[in-house]
């Protein structure tokens, strides 16, 4: 996360920080580090140490209750690339499901909140109310929305099919047919998280000064041109943040398919995280699960870097 936020804030931090650092403020050189210490302790304790411990685990056949935890070197990694191994198929099926969900959901999760934010940024009566309405689902936990949509989307007895039936539309297998299951998962996720990205965009929109729009208008720019040449460039740092966190969130999808489709039909909507959880915490193969996590993390790191590269500020 630190890596994610840094570039976003770098654009807005004051230039010439060297002068500000000590100039006029006669404090101890140690003071800043003391302020950083509490977070550093948490970061070390809950991120760095577990990550290193996970790396160590991934080199063993690790079950915390069994006395023997034999060292197996890179076996847990090579098994992921050996089509004959136990974990090859479930892992890559999981990666495929994760990829499908990410590709299907991220464009919507980035574009719809942007349009929503532009709309909600205009002045109109009830604006605050609508802002609250769109943000509201986000405050619910995944267990709540998962269970709720599981009932609403039930093919036989769900309210959604009931409503469609009123208009003479035949029932849809929302959660038991692969293509519809993906549609359901993406729609539910959009409904659930749309408010979060919209709020971030709104904050970004507030930072674009009105003069820029005035100037554009004087130059005869249309609404679309204003959006394209003022709004979008103005939102660039915010956009980098939104795209990166959205990709990571989608790639970490677990609760929706765990609760709504139970990974089905078959294992079609079973994501990589679901597979890692099952293997590590239900089958107690923590070494294998850690290796899978590291491979997944590697993929995500590459995607995040590519994102920074593609959305970097061009001179």
């Amino acid at each position: 996360m630190a890596a994610v936020i840094m570039p976003a804030s770098a654009g807005t931090s004051p230039k010439g920080g060297k002068d500000l650092r000590y100039g006029g403020v006669h404090g101890s050189r140690v003071a800043p580090y003391l302020f950083l210490l509490p977070y550093l302790v948490l970061f070390l304790g809950f991120v760095i140490l577990p990550a290193l411990f996970g790396l160590w685990m991934s080199l063993h056949n690790w079950d915390f209750l069994l006395p023997g935890k034999p060292f197996v070197g890179l076996d847990n990694y090579t098994a992921l690339f050996d089509s004959q191994s136990v974990q090859f198929e479930p892992f890559w099926h999981g990666m495929r499901a994760t990829a499908i969900f990410t590709v299907a959901s991220v464009p919507f999760l980035i574009s719809i909140p942007l349009l929503l934010a532009v709309l909600l940024n205009r002045k109109f009566p009830g604006r605050t109310f609508f802002r609250a309405v769109f943000f509201a689902p986000y405050v619910l936990g995944v267990a709540v929305i998962g269970l709720m949509w599981r009932y609403l989307l039930d093919p036989s007895f769900g309210a959604v099919n009931g409503l469609l039936g009123v208009f003479g539309i035949p029932p849809v297998n929302w959660i038991t047919e692969e293509s519809w299951a993906w549609v359901s998962l993406v729609l539910v996720t959009i409904w659930w998280t749309i408010g979060f990205n919209a709020i971030i965009y709104l904050a970004g929109l507030g930072d674009i000064s009105a003069e820029q729009y005035e100037a554009a208008e004087l130059d005869g720019a249309s609404m679309w041109q204003q959006f394209r040449y003022v709004t979008v460039p103005g939102l660039r740092p915010v956009m980098v943040f939104v795209i990166t966190t959205t990709i990571l969130a989608s790639a970490n999808m677990f609760g929706q398919s765990y609760l709504i489709t139970q990974g089905g039909p078959g294992d079609k909507t079973r994501t990589a995280i679901m597979e890692i959880t099952e293997r590590g915490l239900s089958q107690y193969r923590m070494g294998e699960a850690s290796a899978m996590s590291y491979v997944l993390a590697l993929f995500l790191a590459v995607i995040a870097l590519a994102n920074f590269y593609l959305t970097r500020e061009r001179p």
Partner: protein, 449 residues
């Protein structure tokens, strides 16, 4: 016992325990001696095993289980009764969702925070024994003079892992055949004569179909679709695994026949396709379907619906041999990080006492495992339970092999794919068998140590 940290106590387990704030426990563990149940030792404790009662100082025991349904209050009242009769033992019951319970128990035991007594499903006993979460209790069986003759043989034998007994059966919960009398009557079927063999079943389904009723909804989910197909597989004379679980047998002919029969319910229009979890049970309650194969726990759910006219019978014989799926709740004694002879004895006293009270327990919708109770007039008076209890000798369990549940996930996937129509039954089963075989091999290697 106030020994502070000694270097020898700073082991990995010690570290884990400390990290959840149980430093005191680690101190105790370091000076514990004469351990009857040190984690990992797997040695049976000596002593009377609870037969002679407990007359030591007052002890408090905790008892974990997953009875979150209507069965919870009944177990709770049994515990209260026990506490009343045993002034020096105080048992506190802690109920959580089964999934949470199974995830929490191993960590709790490792941290020295585990309960003294717990309930486990029969198919989890071997895995937890192999992982040393629970301790052997041959001494209890011997001391209480419990033997196979006292229990139904299937659940009794299921508690043995590596030639040691790890659990004492409390109950069995078999699958039963529920029929909606009003729906049958409307279709012109005799509601007092549910179809009990393959031909009669087929005829009844056709009659229902001619009246526009989809008679038996086929669910692709484990509860209770994959349980139903397991029952069918045993009826067709097959098995899921070889007895030692060295090989997967479900892709053989009986398995294919069983799954084909089940998927044909959809193909022949007796069930809608692609239904979601529990839709079959809901359809039964709503009078949309006539037949449902469901667990014995369903009795209490259906009883709550006063307007519903229903009956329950043993499973119809579709495949040629009487057989049914069943689960079983078993008592286990989790491994104690800090050995305490008093608690150990008191826990065994509780186990002995409650195992004799299983008639009360039958009212929670279960079949008592103890013969004396199951054959009593009082149990027979619980008509619905007794009907399903009659299947006791036709029940099948999974082989008591560590990690067997991992392989069963593949079976569930195969049933899911076949019922949803994404794969033909034979292909789904053999693909799943291939994956499950690899899992069995990996587990054998993992748990052999």
């Amino acid at each position: 016992m106030t020994t502070p940290f000694t270097p020898s106590s700073v082991t990995r387990r010690g570290f884990l325990a400390t990290s959840v704030g149980a430093a005191a426990t680690v101190g105790l563990a370091a000076c514990g001696s004469g351990s009857s149940s040190v984690p990992g030792s797997n040695s049976a404790p000596t002593g009377s095993g609870g037969a002679e009662g407990y007359d030591g100082p007052a002890v408090a025991l905790s008892f974990w289980n997953g009875f979150t349904g209507g069965d919870g209050p009944i177990m709770k009242s049994l515990v209260t009764k026990f506490n009343g009769e045993h002034p020096n033992i105080k048992v506190t019951m802690n109920t959580q969702q089964w999934a949470d319970y199974y995830a929490k128990l191993p960590s709790a035991v490792t941290a020295g925070k585990g309960p003294e007594i717990a309930i486990m499903h029969v198919d989890s006993v071997a895995t937890n024994a192999a992982r040393r979460v629970i301790q052997p209790l041959d001494d209890v069986a011997t001391a209480l003079k419990l033997s196979e003759a006292d229990f139904a043989p299937v659940p009794w034998q299921a508690g043995i892992y590596n030639e040691k007994r790890y659990s004492i059966p409390l109950d069995v919960h078999p699958l039963g055949f529920y029929y909606n009398k009003s729906v049958m009557e409307k279709a012109g079927l005799d509601p007092e004569k549910p179809p009990m063999d393959a031909d009669a079943y087929g005829t009844a389904l056709d009659t229902l179909k001619s009246k526009g009723v989809q008679g038996h909804w086929a669910t692709p989910f484990p509860f209770t679709g994959s349980l139903t197909v397991q029952a069918l597989l045993w009826q067709f004379g097959g098995d899921l695994f070889t007895p030692d679980a060295s090989a997967v047998l479900w892709a053989d002919e009986p398995g294919v026949k069983a799954l084909t029969w089940f998927t044909d319910l959809v193909k022949n229009g007796h069930s809608p396709g692609k239904i979601a979890q529990d839709a079959d049970a809901i359809a039964f309650q709503n009078g949309k379907t006539a037949f449902n194969w469901n667990g014995i726990w369903n009795i209490n759910t259906l009883k709550e619906k006063k307007s519903l006219e229903w009956g329950v019978a043993a499973l119809p014989n579709i495949g040629g041999k009487n057989a049914a799926w069943a689960g079983s709740h078993q008592f286990v004694l989790p491994t104690m990080k800090t050995p305490d002879q008093n608690k150990s004895t008191a826990a065994r006293v509780f186990l002995n006492w409650i195992s004799q009270q299983s008639l009360e327990w039958a009212k929670a919708g279960q079949v008592p495992a103890r013969n004396s109770v199951r054959e009593s007039a009082e149990f027979k008076a619980l008509t619905d339970q007794a009907t399903l209890g009659a299947q006791i000798d036709d029940l099948h369990f999974l082989p008591p092999v560590a990690g067997i549940g991992d392989a069963m996930l593949e079976w569930e996937k195969a049933v899911n794919e076949a019922v949803l129509g994404t794969k033909a039954p034979a292909a789904a089963l053999s693909d799943a068998a291939g994956r499950a075989t690899k899992i069995l091999q990996a587990n054998k290697q993992k748990y052999q140590q």
